[in-house]
């Protein structure tokens, strides 16, 4: 299973970015896709109000340790995806957030050297090879490759399209 390398600009934050920062209370209520999407501009409002305003399609989200600690709310990675983030790198992840990223089709890679990345660096991330090229600093960072069953799910676009395919095959 392969996933094309993703090139973009890094938005770099520190340790312990929790789900309340990513999807604040009140930002993800409602029963429709439109209502949920309307909350995305609230992402990180308490930490960096410029993030949601400045982030562009194809950008890359980078954090330190424990990215996504807190609640199981899927709005946290979904808001990143809706704002245009195409891949997430962190020194390590909280387990539910990590699964949520992959389930919604947003590649998430653990990168021991994520702290070396600076805000605004240009990166090229290859989820299949498990590497991140820092084009600004001209250095290659090793990431933990994803197991095959998760690469297969990502290649389908996430858990739901993956399930749809499986269920169709079964029918």
């Amino acid at each position: 299973m392969t996933h094309a390398p993703i090139e973009g600009r890094a938005w770099k934050y520190g340790d312990n970015i929790d789900t309340d920062l990513l999807a604040p209370i009140g930002s993800y209520a409602g029963t429709t896709d439109a209502e949920l999407a309307a909350g995305a501009p609230q992402c990180l409002r308490a930490l960096d109000p410029d993030f949601a305003k400045g982030v562009k399609e194809g950008d890359i989200f980078v954090a330190g340790a424990n990215l996504g600690i807190g609640s199981s709310r899927e709005a946290a990675p979904l808001f990143l995806k809706l704002l245009g983030i195409r891949v997430v790198l962190a020194r390590n992840f909280a387990r539910i957030f990590y699964r949520n990223c992959l389930n919604i089709g947003l590649p998430a890679l653990a990168c021991a050297e994520a702290d070396s990345i600076e805000m605004g660096d240009r990166l090229s991330v290859d989820p299949t090879a498990g590497t991140a090229e820092n084009l600004t600093q001209k250095r290659t960072l090793a990431c933990e490759p994803l197991p095959d069953h998760l690469m297969a799910m990502l290649a389908d676009g996430g858990l739901l399209p993956h399930l749809e395919k499986r269920l169709k095959r079964r029918a």
């Binding site: 209370i25 209520a29 409602g30 609640s71 709310r73 539910i96 699964r99 389930n103 739901l160």
Partner: protein, 406 residues
């Protein structure tokens, strides 16, 4: 017998059974059949339910699904009323048998209504789903898409976690409870101190604990970075589960083998432990309450799945009997569940709290997630019995400390 049998921890035994295997090893990826799935009004019908409908398949087994409303309850806002109606209608149209509306916080309601039993493999679409582990079940928190997968197939993949053993040596002293144990551990080992491990609590301090209080130990496994928490069931577990309508349970079968392998073993001196308070904005900022002596408070919130069960309310009542909250100080109490409110009212505990100046709020998650009457005003300093104190969790001002109130 004579066959070579690898000793297993309680969690490994449950995962192996759910995966249809004789044994499993930490690190191995297996697919498990789900015995019980729980979702609430935030993660459930409006998200996982909607995605299930988009897939166009039915719920795999309506006997094994419990839907609880606790997040968007008692809020006088049109959006929330609409969400409640949506949840109720979705459950009705999908033949959901176990729909528990407005009766309290899902993690306590789930066992209180007899759904949790030792040995079950369970998932819940909420991060504190780890709570059920206190009754000898293996339960993990998942997101809404993952729950959709479970609703559609009844299965989920799991990387078998290592188990860390936390022994609480010695009975806890007066005014000290499970919450203090977890905050102490979190302060020493950090909020990701047990990353992807199962924390198994044991020892004389746990044996002596009421089952209600044990639920707080496993609830806050989430604050230790653990995949989940678990406690081997004993006679007290069986007695509590019988009272909650779970029927007769097998407590002997569900325990770790004596020679099981643990990733680490930690011992905490329960008898020497004092009350803990975690300063803003992480539970790992825990310290002895004495370090915060003299802090002026504007509000106290005795609520949540961690801190407002009957045992917790009794502890607060014992301290507050005959006392009165200062003028201008907000003292808010939201019992964890409606049934617990009834029990606390019947025995006079609620009256003691009300006499001390408490406003009794409806049961639900509102106070914890900064919604409803318990929301801490901007720039106010509060103390609470909730499990988290992240920036933005209760308020978006860093001036908040929280801990068990008693």
């Amino acid at each position: 017998m004579g066959d070579m049998k690898r000793a297993m921890t309680l969690s490994e035994k449950i995962i192996a059974r759910a995966a249809g295997k004789k044994k499993v090893q930490p690190g191995e990826i297996v697919t498990c059949a789900v015995d019980l799935a729980m979702m609430h009004d935030s993660s459930g019908p409006r998200l996982a339910g909607k995605m299930l409908d988009e897939l166009g398949v039915p719920i795999w087994d309506v006997d094994k699904l419990v839907v609880v409303t606790d997040h968007y309850v008692n809020l006088p806002d049109e959006t929330y009323v609409r969400m409640q109606t949506h949840a109720a209608e979705w459950c009705k149209s999908h033949g959901v048998k176990h729909f528990i509306q407005d009766k309290g916080i899902c993690h306590i309601v789930l066992p209180e209504y007899g759904h949790v039993r030792p040995g079950l493999f369970c998932v819940g679409a909420d991060s504190h789903s780890t709570t059920a582990g206190a009754l000898g079940a293996f339960m993990v928190g998942i997101g809404a898409s993952e729950m959709t997968g479970v609703l559609a197939t009844g299965e989920i993949w799991v990387r078998v976690p290592e188990t860390a053993r936390i022994e609480v040596k010695g009975r806890l002293g007066a005014g000290v409870a499970a919450k203090d144990v977890v905050l102490k551990i979190c302060g020493e080992h950090g909020i990701m101190g047990f990353d992807y491990q199962v924390v198994e609590f044991c020892g004389s301090g746990v044996d002596a604990m009421p089952v209600e209080d044990r639920l707080t130990l496993t609830n806050m496994a989430a604050e230790l970075g653990a995949k989940t928490g678990i406690i081997a069931p004993d006679a007290k577990t069986a007695e509590t589960l019988a009272a909650w309508g779970a029927g007769k349970v097998d407590v002997k079968a569900w325990r770790s083998d004596a020679d099981a392998t643990y990733a680490k073993k930690i011992v905490i001196d329960g008898a020497a432990l004092g009350p803990q308070v975690a300063a803003p904005s992480s539970p790992e900022n825990a310290a002895d309450v004495a370090e915060h002596a003299g802090t002026k408070l504007d509000q106290a919130y005795l609520g949540a799945c961690t801190g407002a069960k009957v045992e917790d309310l009794r502890m607060a009542a014992k301290i507050l009997k005959g006392r009165k909250a200062a003028k201008g100080f907000r003292f808010l109490v939201a019992p964890s569940t409606a049934r617990m409110r009834e029990r606390a009212a019947a025995e006079g505990t609620l009256k003691v709290l009300e006499d001390a100046g408490a406003t009794i709020l409806p049961s639900g998650c509102g106070g914890c997630i900064g919604m409803g009457a318990a929301r801490l005003p901007e720039n106010a300093v509060g103390i609470s019995s909730t499990n988290r104190n992240f920036l933005g969790f209760w308020v978006e001002a860093p001036k908040v400390s929280r801990a068990r109130t008693a």
